[in-house]
Every structure is written in structure tokens, then in C-alpha cells.
Symmetry: C2
Subunit: 353 residues, 2 copies
Amino acid sequence: MPEPDHTTSEGDRDIRILVDGHGGDSAPTMVLDALEMVLSPKFAAQFSASLAFGVVGQEEVLSPLLRERGIENRISLVAATDVIEMCDSPSHALRRKKDSSIHVGARLVRDGSWDALVSAGNTGALMAISKVVLKTLPGIDRPAIASMIPAVNDGCTLMLDAGANSECTSDHLIQFAIMGSCYMQATEGLSAPRVGLLNIGSEDIKGTDVIKLTSTKLAETDLNYIGNVEGTDLFGNDVDVVVCDGFVGNVALKTMEGTARFLASSMRKELTSSLVSKAGALLARSALNRFKDRVNPGKYNGAPLLGLNGIVVKSHGGADAEAFVSAIAVACKEVDANLTDRITQSVQEMVEA
Amino acid sequence: MPEPDHTTSEGDRDIRILVDGHGGDSAPTMVLDALEMVLSPKFAAQFSASLAFGVVGQEEVLSPLLRERGIENRISLVAATDVIEMCDSPSHALRRKKDSSIHVGARLVRDGSWDALVSAGNTGALMAISKVVLKTLPGIDRPAIASMIPAVNDGCTLMLDAGANSECTSDHLIQFAIMGSCYMQATEGLSAPRVGLLNIGSEDIKGTDVIKLTSTKLAETDLNYIGNVEGTDLFGNDVDVVVCDGFVGNVALKTMEGTARFLASSMRKELTSSLVSKAGALLARSALNRFKDRVNPGKYNGAPLLGLNGIVVKSHGGADAEAFVSAIAVACKEVDANLTDRITQSVQEMVEA
């Protein structure tokens, strides 16, 4: 296995990120484009530690691409022979594709050769393999996928679980709350992230039995628990971490995506319906583009798989290079902030309290 | 109790709609404004049966308002002394406000004096009182709230349950599927509405145990069951009825509302950020207004409470008169199509099959 190419500046630890060369609709080109971008001084300037990047996958495919771009000496190439397809079931990928890029990458993170794995591949396979190879952190029963949602005034809200666990007990939900709170402290610098429980009303009597029990228990923790929140609060500035089971979280995320797509297509239809409105749209174009940028899900691409004994970040499968760079940045931030140690410590403190 | 003021044209039955004078943020003015509108020939032209309207509530408040508008002879006034506030708990409203407009209205629908009750008041109270006073239809365990969602190409999708039942068994969900299918047949004229189950992926292995069991059972019914659908499908043209529990449905609805509001405020901010884009927005104004109309939730205001032995329609509390007219139209359609009889018959056929 090639050693990551990096130099350590005194006192700082390195941030060593391995990316999956075969995940995503436009892989491997999109992945290589993103790797070129993260080699820029502008990207590096976000972090005090020095950065090292690698790509894992089929050597015969990736090696020529690295050479073409002239980055073969700056990006380590880690060989893996198998490729997990989007249609592979998680169990098939887990059992039958042990030399896939995700498997090899997860093992190298487990062994400490790399600090994090970033993949735009099959979400179910990534979660299943990561769980088996990396295991969960002490005190965490189930890892969760966390999703960052843009909010008003350039804010953002972390929602978890976004789809890994359809059925959750109140203990699972409380663990999600702890992990989400640690994440927002570590990566957004919040001192006491406000944690809300996704419910169908603000009153205590609302929701399922699991939700009601979770609310009571959350109020007894040291977390900055603010009570029930609703779907409309996801985009506001009143909550930082929204906790829910993976079924509800996934429906909420996909509903957001569907609403945004529906509104955009309706707007396009209206704006192109007459010459006058077309002219207006032309004049307002830069504003409409800024609007698109602001609500672009790519800006917040990179969903951390939280609760694993190692850092894994899932990029949207349809991500372009720029969005994939966001996912790599998420991984860098998590490593930089020692997120896994922080979560372990928080869970430990919670158990002792 | 005053008799509804109506004339019956030969062969047709009347549609007699009673509206709650005290429900909604802008009641009673908004309610009276809406009643003026539904008296117009344009509204009546939608139905072959003749229409009769009444308003239920405090006589001393409503009587002068009817007279002011000169419609005291065309709108029956039904007296009720109590008013249910938005902050009243459903159980308090149910037990302590037996002479409220909702209670009196529900009793008159039960007794056959009126065909439907329309209210923009407290949803929990409306559901609780309707359930106790009207009872559920044979074969229906729990009534559901159904919500109509706008979709591309001027289509629409009915989602239920939108919030009445947080926890549902597969039998409840199947009953929702039957009711939703009947509703779309009756009010939208679809011969075999496509029924989908809201899930977090299209594959059969996805979702909770209840969802998987429901999917298996739905496939065995006579319904036009198309399998799992996702949050993104709510706005498409591939499904007519989306079935889910009330927790998930409510989160989805409020997430839609939040997303739309967030996008609108972001767009406004960008469009007013420079003179050029302001000018563009001005030129595109009529297009932007048509866009707002198209995605305006008011257009689809009027959520039927399905499964009750009587027709009850809930309007959004923030509805304006025009949106409240939509809710009244929903009630008229349900009466006109004999919806409760249809549901009863479908459930009966399903049990016999």
C-alpha cells in the first residue's frame, strides 16, 4: 500500500483523507476533478493542519487519470480491484465485494493509515461496510447519517438520522442527539448547540410514545435541549440539531428536494411564458443564480456517518466536483476537530452523570 | 334551529353546507366574506345540485354581520354559544364546550339537518369532536386527515394521514388507502387512482416492519397499488394517493411549507439586492405572481377528515376568504359524490373479497 504523501508541520497533526474513486454518477472523472481542486492553496488555507489526499480504486483506471492531470505525485493511489455498483444490495456488497474501494478504504481508516473515507457511492453499502469494519464507538448502538440543511440568514441545521435507521428506540435517538451536538460543536464552533426533537407539534402531548419518552429523557441530559420542533423549523435559526428516526428524516429530506425541484420548475415555466417576463428573468439572472447557489444542496454536500470508530463521509451520488469538494471539507473538519474522540467523551460523560 | 334556505331542483339532491363561524385566525370576517363568495352563480355553476349554506356560532356576533352584508335571508344562522379557541386541548374542547360551534355543527351533520361541516378552527378539537359525535364508518378504525398537494402539470396528489394518527398499524394504513382512493375517484373523477406507500426507497426491503407488511397486504387488494413512493414523488404525476402514518405525513407537509417559505424569502432577498435585479423582478412580476398562485397552498385548501360517518372538512387556520371558499368547494364535492356511501361500500367489498 503506498504511503500517503504528506509533510507534518510541527505541533500539528496531518489530515489524511482517502476518497473512493468509484462512487457517484460521474466517477471517476468527478472524483479526480475534485482532487485537483482540494490540492489548491485556497482549500488548504481553511485548515491549520497539513492535508494529504489519496484515492482508492482500480489502479488501471485511476493511474492514467492521475497522470493525465499531472497529480500522480501529490495524490496517493491505493489499489482496490472491486467496484460496488449503485444497484448492489448492502449485504451483497458487504459479503461478496471485500476488495472493493469502500472495503479497502474502510480497512485503512480502521488501521490508522488514513483518517477518513469520503465516498459518493452506494449509501447502504457504505453504511453496512463501515459498521462491520470500523465498528461503532463505545456507548453508541447505531451509527446515523447526518444531513446539513441550509437555513435563513446563512445559517444551517443538522438533521439526524437521515435514513440509516428506520426504527429507533428513545436510547438511539438520545445517542443521535449527543452525536449531533458534538458535531455542531466541533465543526461549527457552537458552544451549546440547541437540540430539538422533530415532532408534529410543539406541545408535550404530541407524537408517538417513543418520541414522548425521548423528550422526557432528553430534558434530563446536559444537552441544550429546547424541546419539540416541527418540519417548518428546519429552515429557521432557532435550532441547531434536529433529532428524528431515519424513516422520518429521510422522508423530510426527500420532501425538501421534491418541493425545491417542483418550485424551480414552476418558476421556470412562468418566467419563460412571455417575452416581458423572459426579459425580466434575464435582468434578474444574476440574482436568480445567487438564489440557486444559496439553496444549492451541493453547498452542504457531505453527510457524516456519525457514531463509527472512524470518520466516513457520504457525498450525494449526483454530486459534481465542486459539491464533492464540500464533502471532502466535511471530512477534513471532522478529523481536524477530533470528532470521534469528542463523541466518545460526551457519551462517557453522559453515562457517568 | 332555522331550516336551511334552499330549493330543490327536480331529481337533484341538495348540497347543504354548514360552516363554523368562529374557526380561523380571521374569523368571523373571513368566514362571512367566503359565504358571500359562495353565493355567487359562478360558484354554484360547479355543481349540478342546488346549494344551501349556513353558519354556526354566536348569534349576537354573526347576526349583525349577515345583515351588514345583506345575506341574512340567504345564509341560515345556527346558534351555538361556545367558541373553541386554538389553544384549547382537544379533550377540553370535547368535554367542556358542548355548545361550541363545532359540537353543534357536528351534531346537525349527524342528525342529517346538514350534509357537511367546514371549519378553520382547532384541528385536534375538530377531529376529536367529529369522531365522538359522528363516529367512524363501518370497517374504519380511525379517521384520517387528507391533504391535497400540488404537482407538476397542474396535477395533484392526495396524501393521508396528514397528522391525525401518529401511530398506525398496517390495517389502519390499508383503510387510509381505500379512503384516499375513493376520495380521488369521487372528487377528481379518476377511475383507478394509483396508490403509493410513502417509504424511504423503492425497494421492497426498505422501511419499517409495519410498512413492509402494509406493502404486502396492499398488493393483495383490488386497489391500483403501485408500490413504494418517496418524498420526491409527492410532486410528480406518477401517483394519485400517497399513504403514510400521521407522524410522517405531518412532518412531510410542514417540511414542504418550510421549504417553500425558505425558498421564497431567499429569492426575495436576492431579487431586491440590486437595482438591475429589482428591475428584472418588476418585469417578471406577473410571472412571479402566477408562480405564487400556482404553488399557493390556498388553492388546495380544505383537508377532508375521511372515515367519519359524515362529511367534515378542515380549512387551514390562516386561510383567507378565497382559500376558505376552496375548503367549502371540497365539502360540496364530497357531498355531491356521496363520498361516505362510496367509502362504506369499498370497505365492505374489500372485506368480502
